[in-house]
Symmetry: D2
């Protein structure tokens, strides 16, 4: 059984404007791709978009640390899938892993550690209960490498 | 006497990541370049940055219309200058012209029409008096083509 | 009968990172949105992506002029559609119109004039016959405002 | 004696369009800032820009791994300095550290590992001798944390 099928995955085509004169993706764009996939994951899986999280619920989720491994060169027009794993849930922080891949190859792996804060004083807060529950259930669905 | 010398001008080097696989600047980046120069113009010439304009004084200055003419191909590492002219001051709107050039050539011309609005109801307002005065004085300094 | 249905249209959600501290889309991103839709139009309707056009067929299609009208403020998470009209076909140049809209409102209108050139000498060339034919047929499908 | 003075450092003002609706820098832009500083370092310290490195000398320098630590929130209009350290020189790869800071605070730390490859077969190659020499001399100038 393919466990990957149960993970949140976004299809995406590498854009001309994301590539540089060497003909491959400009490396900072890989962080953009992972971050944009995480944004959709928040909206679709956690059920709350970043606008509402910030301005209705009063939380922020700044990035604390990001690691990007570049494993294969991506070129314009290549179609890839980008997944989101939840690999760790702390008191205030969540660690996500995101891979860019197609049937043949894995192109990148991005680890993103975010921290829940209050917008009032910008101090870290415990992950809100409802969000923690969804993260916990989602975390059980996928293998993490 | 060189009237261009009296205009606000920013030096800038075309970046690798702003160019596409064809080896030239990705065209939307030209709008970014002009907009970023306008941002510096606001801070240095009008004396107010966009953060303070929005959050201390309660105004917004959304773009209403932009026209970009691409006259020459820009490549990575090229050094250009980008100027800002005030070409028209209306009741609520200001028209800026911005050119990208070096000694040999003009590469682009960007016309930007912005409108002062109140952040309370997002309706247009007269250009604040102090800003209008600075715009008027600045407008007298440069020829506009 | 709805002629809009027969036009190439891409759905898109305004991204958090495309919006600025004022909470609305940073205006140069509208040019990016139109350009990215045109890129997909080239691949899906003209049947040739920009990589192949440049490096297999030896053409370039630089932007000559762009006009952007901003009609409504777009915010993060808004879902819009972006269409592509062919409004004029010249000897070497093609004029596209692209609108961003939803059921209630039109948010932007972008006019893009591109010119076919040879990559050998960067001089304009007649639009290749096969591409001209597709553009002509497509042009008949949609009303242009 | 201040060793930092001897390091390559670029001044930069955080841009409005690099910040998101939460009012702080959109985190992927930090990778852009470090990468753009590295681009200038290549041009000014290594004495070769990426265009010439790729198309005159036939090398590429793709990113292999990037780590970003976000230590402080950056807002629009903040003036920071961004430095470049060489922290390790391998057979084919170079490890750079880049910090964003002002007098009061350190805002980010970016580790970038790049690898020299041949553009002919995209295989790794030893760092070219002249570049290795400059890197080695530069590496001696600064402390690395």
């Amino acid at each position: 059984m393919d466990r990957r099928k149960r993970l949140f995955t976004e299809k995406r085509t590498v854009r001309w404007g994301d590539c540089d004169p060497a003909g491959v993706i400009y490396s900072p764009r890989v962080f953009d791709y992972a971050m944009e996939t995480l944004e959709i994951f928040n909206r679709e899986i956690l059920g709350i978009n970043w606008m509402d999280l910030n301005f209705k619920r009063g939380y922020g989720v700044p990035m604390v640390r990001t690691e990007v491994d570049f494993m294969g060169l991506l070129r314009s027009d290549q179609e890839i899938e980008i997944d989101i794993h939840v690999s760790d849930i702390g008191k205030s922080s969540v660690t996500y892993l995101s891979h860019g891949f197609d049937e043949r190859e894995r192109y990148f792996r991005v680890k993103m550690i975010c921290c829940y804060i209050s917008r009032t004083d910008f101090k870290s807060i415990p992950i809100p209960h409802d969000i923690r529950e969804i993260l916990r259930r989602y975390m059980g669905t996928g293998s993490v490498e």
